[in-house]
Amino acid sequence: MNTSTPSRSDDLVVDIRGVTKRFGARTVLQDVDLRVPRGCAFGFLGPNGAGKTTLIRVLLGLVPASAGEMRLLGHPLPAERAAALARVGAIVEEPRFHPHLTGRENLVVAAAPRGAEAEGRIDAALARVGLADRARDRVGGYSMGMRQRLGIARCLLVDPELLILDEPMNGLDPAGILEMRGLIRSFVDEGRTVLLSSHLLDEVERTCDGVAIIDLGRIVTQGTLAETIGPQDNALLIGCDDLALATALLGSLPTVTAVAQSSDGTLRVSLTSGASAAGVNRALVERGIAVHRLEASRLSLEERFLELTSRLGAA
């Protein structure tokens, strides 16, 4: 497991050690350790049923842990739960509201147990998520994207140090996803921490600085995005008009260590350290081979995810 995340409790907004959760005879979380550093967007990934939402519910005190220790914003749980949650905004699974109330009224209801300051932040929160104009409409008429944004507004009522967002991109169109991504990054820029649970790996890769992957109730890796994906080898994907000639030519180059043809008609060319794509391209063109594709071959979070989780066997 990668261990480059900060280890001092002060630097951690979430510090979970050895947490286990059982529902009857079924163990949903097994000896989970998770450390989320302060001031970043942290992706929390896992296949469906891996235990993502259960861990979030345990962290928020919505269900009790069977064993283990947790600290949230430095406060031990469950002993100082109220103090810890005072600066935590969370959407668990999907944002739910009273459909017969307006967006603003729902925030009034949500602010009531959170104090007068929370009530004073309602209008600013609605404006921040772009719902000020629709605040007096009943939530029953809101689209999924509007509900997601209202959920974010509800999180903002406590001026959160930590936002826990469970699948916030669900139901959003491409523009909505882009907007949500910008919103999350803006929270991080303000010094807040965002714990983002998702199975949209591409989105997590674009949005997050750190990541943890959970599978079958266990954390299988956690660390920065680069650490989690692992070292990238120096390789190229090449598409050209004469694969046989290109394979023979590339195989003879001293900077090339391996050439493999993939089923989609491209060549995956492994290079020695320091070798450049330009040199390979020049060699191909000088031999009269037309190159129509040349790109760096990168290991993605998705590939790493599939490699680490039980989905690999099913894929």
Partner: protein, 252 residues
Amino acid sequence: MTANMARSMISAEFLKLRRRRGIFWWSLVLTSGTMVAAFTTLVILHLNDPGHYGPAGGVKNFTGSMEALIGLGGVASIMIGASAGAGDLGAGVFRDMASSGRSRITLFLVRVPGALLLQLPLILGAFVLATVASIVLAGSDPVPSATLIAQYGGWVLAGTVLELILAIGLASVLGTRATTIGVLLAWELIGARLLQHFSFLGDVRKALNSTAIDSLKPDLLPMSVAAAIAVVVCWAIVALAAGAFRTRTIDA
């Protein structure tokens, strides 16, 4: 928790109930609406056939209207209480409320005053309407005395508030509004009434909420007022304790 926060939480509960238009209008129909309809009918009958139908007001029609109010007001109270008890769970909002860090017992207890804020004006409005009509329309009949009005007022209040509390407690346990309303109506209209008539149950029947409420009715005292009040309070405590326990322990 500060007094301001308690006030905000109670206001929020009231807001959730007040904006349920169906509950509000049906409760209004069952309380003031029924009183208006009843006295209007009595006035029309009296005007058409004064020899056969006496004045619309007076003591007799006052007591009759109170019996109607405790029954139909009880139904309205069950509807309001069920919405207060199961509203957050039904809408899926309880999870957010629980993750506010506020005590779950507090989240449960504020439902009671929040629901009372909606229920009491409806019951009191209907009570005042019936009382005024009974006095104004009494004609040559005797008008209800202040003592009788106070006694019936207390009886209606006790009966309807108990229904409200039972509904809040049961709805918090069951988590659904419709089931709570169905169970409580079945209990009040069928279950409790049947048990009251099972003579082999003897004094056990005095533990029924309906027997206790009936016993508080002026001029009808099959059991002592103190015993009846004790039974009513016990029912309320059991309902509140069950609702609070479930709210505290439920997985959110």
